[in-house]
C-alpha cells in the first residue's frame, strides 16, 4: 500500500487515513503486548521442541511412504525378535475353563462364546423357540439374562475381526450341544 501524498489529499481523506492507521497500530500492539507478556512470564510453550516433533513426524511419513524402503513386513509371516515363527492361527491347546474340553487357542473365543451361552448366536437360538431354549439353558449352563446387544450406537468403537453374518440352521426338535 503506497503512502499517500498528503499534499494531494483532501483533509477528509487525510483524517480517515489517520484513524485507520491508529486502529491498525492499536490492534498490532494488542497482539504484541499479549505475546510479550506470555513470553516474558515464561508461559509460552516450548515451540522448538514442538517443531522438532512435527519435523520428525513429517520426515517419518515420507520415509515410510517411500516404496523403496522394505517397510513393515506383514506381521504374520516373519520371524520375531526371539527367532520364532508362529502360525496365523494360534495352535496352542489348553482346556476350556468352562467345559473342560481341550481347545485350540486361535478358536478359543468362538468356542467360549457358545460354551458360555453368550453372544449373538446364543441369543438367536434363544429367541427362535422359547420353550426349547429354556429347556436347553436350564441344564446348567452358566447363563442368564442377556443384556441387550450393544451395537455401534455407542460411538467411537473401532472393531476388529470380520463381521460374521451367518446364522446356524436348526432342525426341529434336536438339541444343540453348546
Amino acid at each position: 500500500m503506497s503512502v499517500p501524498n498528503e499534499d494531494n489529499m483532501s483533509s477528509h481523506t487525510q483524517l480517515s487515513s489517520h484513524f485507520f492507521g491508529e486502529l491498525l497500530d492499536s490492534i498490532i500492539v494488542d497482539v504484541a503486548s499479549e505475546c510479550h507478556r506470555i513470553a516474558r512470564l515464561g508461559l509460552d510453550r516450548n515451540l522448538e521442541e514442538e517443531e522438532e516433533e512435527l519435523r520428525l513426524s513429517a520426515q517419518a511419513r515420507v520415509t515410510v511412504a517411500d516404496p523403496s524402503n522394505s517397510g513393515e513386513t506383514n506381521g504374520k509371516y516373519v520371524v520375531d525378535i526371539f527367532g520364532q515363527t508362529h502360525p496365523s492361527v494360534a495352535n496352542e491347546v489348553f482346556d476350556c475353563m468352562n467345559c473342560g474340553r481341550p481347545i485350540v487357542a486361535g478358536r478359543f473365543a468362538p468356542h467360549l462364546e457358545k460354551c458360555m451361552g453368550k453372544g449373538r448366536k446364543a441369543r438367536v437360538k434363544a429367541t427362535r423357540s422359547s420353550t426349547a431354549a429354556q429347556n436347553r439353558y436350564s441344564r446348567g449352563s452358566p447363563v442368564s439374562a442377556y443384556s441387550s446387544y450393544s451395537n455401534s450406537t455407542s460411538t467411537n468403537r473401532l472393531s476388529n475381526g470380520t463381521y460374521n453374518h451367518t446364522v446356524e440352521e436348526y432342525s426341529n426338535g434336536t438339541c444343540e450341544e453348546p
Binding site: V29, S33, H36, R37, L41, L43, R45, N46, E50, E53, L54, L56, S57, A60, R61, V64, A65, N69, S70, E72, G75, V78, V79, D80, I81, F82, G83, Q84, H86, A90, E92, F94, M97, N98, A105, G106, R107, F108, A109, P110, H111, L112, M116, K118, R120, A145, S147, S148, Y149, S150, S152, T155, N156, R157, L158, S159, N160, G161, T162, Y163
Partner: protein, 480 residues
C-alpha cells in the same frame, strides 16, 4: 498522562519517572529498559479492579477461583516407590535367568479369535510403569483374594497371572484365555466373539479392577480419592467451567477421569484452502496434531442456544460458554482419539483415517486448570499459584495402540517403547521397529507416563547391551 510522543521526553526530563502506564491495555512500560515490564502488585490491582466491577455473585465465584489453592496435592505415592524397589529386585532375579538380551516383559500374546483389541491393551498395561511395578511386586495378593470370594472371578488376579507369565523369561506366546473368560463374566454385554473396541475394553478392565479392589481399599467409601491400583495409576481430574455470557458468573465442577477422549480437529484446514480447491473437505492435509486436539479440548465452547443453562446470578436460562481444563494429571495419561465419525444426516458412520501427529515428549502445562484460568484473566500474575508447579506436567510416551482397516473389520497393533527402542506387538509377533514407523502410524490410543517414572522404569530393564544398529526396517531375529 501523556501520549507516546511525550512519554520519552518526560522520562528524560524528570528523574525517577521511568514507568509509564498503557491505559488501554493496563500494562506497564519502563523507559529505561525500553520494554514492557510486569509487576505482581500492579497485576493484582488490575484484577481486583476488574472483579469489583462485576456483579456480586460473579465476583464471588471469580474470587473463589483466584484464591483457590491446589487442594489435596497429590504426593507421588511413596507406595508407588515401594513397588518400584520390590519390582526392581524381581526383575533383576528373573533377568539372571532370561534367555535373551531383550528386555523382560516382552512376550507375544496369542489371538484367541478376534481378540487383538484385548491383546493390544494388555501390552500397554503390561508396560505401564507404576501398574507393572504393582503387579510384579505381587501387591495384589491372589491367595487372600481367592479365599475371600471363591467362585467370583477377579480380573486383578488374572492380570497378575499374566504379568507373572509375561515377565517369566519364557518367550513363547502366551494365551490370555483365563483372562478372557473372567472378563466376559464381568462384562456380560461385551461378551461375544466379534468386533470389539479397544478403548471400551480398556475402560471395562479398569472398572472391573476398581470394583474388586475399591471395596477393600476404600472402606470409607471415599470415591474422591480411590486407592485401587487402577485409579492410583490412571485417574486424573477434569475441571469444567460454565460461564454465563450475560453476567460472567462461572460455575465450576470437577470430575475424575481415567482417560481423555479427544475429537480430531476437523477444521484444521482453512476455508481458503477448501475454496481454492486445493484441499477437498474431508481430506487428510497432514496437519492434524495431538496438540491441536488438546487445544480443541480446552477451547471455550459456546453451547448452542438450544442448550441454555440456568445461571444462578441472572436467575434464568442463558447462553453459556463451556471450557474444560485438567485439574490434576494422572501418573499414566491415556489419550483416546475419537476416530469415529457419525453422520446423522446420512445415518452412516465412518472411521476418520487421517494421520494424527503425536509427540514422544509431551508437556501438559498449557492444558492445566491454572494455565487455562490464568489465560482467561489476561495472563495476569497471581502470586499464590507457585505451589502448582511442583506437580510434573511432563510426560514421555511408552505405548501406542494403533488401528488399521475399516470400522467393522480391522486390526489393532501396539507399539511399545522400552529403553528407547520401539517394539511392535502384533498378537504373537514381537518385532523391533524404527521410531519412524511409529510416528507414521495411525494412533488410536496413546499412553504417556510422567517423565520421572519413565526414566526410573527404564533403568530396571537393562540387560546386556543391545545389538548394534542395522537396517531399521528389517525385523531382527533373537540373538541368544
Amino acid at each position: 498522562m501523556s501520549c507516546s510522543d511525550h512519554t520519552l521526553l518526560h522520562s528524560q526530563s524528570e528523574n525517577g519517572h521511568d514507568i509509564a502506564v498503557d491505559i488501554e491495555r493496563s500494562e506497564l512500560y519502563c523507559c529505561s529498559c525500553s520494554d514492557q515490564v510486569y509487576d505482581l502488585d500492579f497485576d493484582k490491582v488490575v484484577v481486583a479492579k476488574n472483579i469489583v466491577d462485576m456483579p456480586s455473585k460473579t465476583r464471588d465465584s471469580v474470587v473463589d477461583d483466584l484464591m483457590r489453592r491446589s487442594s489435596k496435592r497429590r504426593r507421588l505415592n511413596s507406595v508407588v516407590d515401594l513397588d518400584l524397589i520390590r519390582s526392581k529386585f524381581f526383575v533383576w532375579m528373573r533377568g539372571r535367568r532370561a534367555k535373551s538380551c531383550y528386555p523382560l516383559g516382552l512376550r507375544g500374546l496369542n489371538n484367541l479369535g478376534s481378540t487383538c483389541f484385548m491383546n493390544s491393551i494388555l501390552q500397554a498395561l503390561l508396560h505401564a510403569p507404576p501398574f507393572r511395578n504393582y503387579f510384579l511386586s505381587e501387591r495384589h495378593d491372589r491367595e487372600t483374594c481367592r479365599k475371600r470370594s471363591s467362585d467370583q472371578s477377579c480380573l486383578a488376579c488374572d492380570i497378575g497371572v499374566i504379568f507373572s507369565a509375561v515377565y517369566s523369561g519364557d518367550r513363547t506366546p502366551y494365551s490370555p484365555a483365563q483372562f478372557l473368560y473372567s472378563w466376559w463374566q464381568h462384562s456380560a454385554n461385551l461378551a461375544s466373539y466379534e468386533q470389539q473396541d479397544a478403548h471400551e475394553f480398556f475402560i471395562s478392565v479398569l472398572d472391573a479392577i476398581h470394583e474388586r479392589e475399591g471395596k477393600e481399599r476404600n472402606p470409607n467409601k471415599d470415591n474422591g480419592d480411590c486407592q485401587c491400583i487402577a485409579h492410583r495409576v490412571f485417574s486424573g481430574m477434569l475441571r469444567s467451567d460454565l460461564t454465563c455470557t450475560t453476567c460472567g458468573f462461572t460455575s465450576t465442577t470437577y470430575d475424575p477421569c481415567v482417560d481423555i477422549s479427544l475429537n480430531m480437529d476437523t477444521s484444521s484446514f482453512s476455508s481458503v484452502d477448501v475454496a481454492n480447491k486445493s484441499v477437498r473437505p474431508n481430506e487428510d492435509t497432514g496437519r492434524s496434531t495431538l496438540l491441536a486436539c488438546l487445544d480443541l479440548f480446552t477451547r471455550p465452547e459456546r453451547l448452542g442456544s438450544d442448550q441454555k443453562l440456568y445461571c444462578q446470578n441472572c436467575q434464568e436460562k442463558r447462553d453459556t460458554l463451556k471450557q474444560m481444563s485438567i485439574k490434576r494429571l494422572p501418573l499414566v495419561l491415556s489419550l483416546h482419539i475419537k476416530r469415529f465419525e457419525h453422520s446423522s444426516l446420512r445415518r452412516t458412520s465412518r472411521k476418520i483415517d487421517w494421520h494424527l501427529q503425536f509427540p514422544f515428549s509431551l508437556d501438559m502445562t498449557p492444558y492445566l486448570s491454572p494455565s487455562i484460568v490464568r489465560n482467561r484473566f489476561g495472563n495476569r500474575i497471581f502470586g499464590f499459584e507457585s505451589d502448582e508447579a511442583d506437580i510434573s506436567a511432563e510426560f514421555e510416551i511408552f505405548a501406542v495402540v494403533t488401528h488399521s482397516g475399516m470400522l467393522d473389520s480391522g486390526h489393532y497393533v501396539t507399539y511399545l517403547r522400552l529403553q528407547n527402542q520401539w517394539y511392535k506387538c502384533d498378537d504373537a509377533w514381537i518385532t523391533e521397529v524404527d521410531e519412524r514407523i511409529v510416528r507414521a502410524s495411525q494412533c488410536y490410543m496413546i499412553f504417556y507416563v510422567q517423565r520421572m517414572l519413565y526414566y526410573k522404569a527404564n533403568e530396571d530393564l537393562s540387560c546386556a547391551p543391545m545389538p548394534s544398529r542395522r537396517d531399521p526396517f528389517v525385523p531382527i531375529a533373537g540373538c541368544c
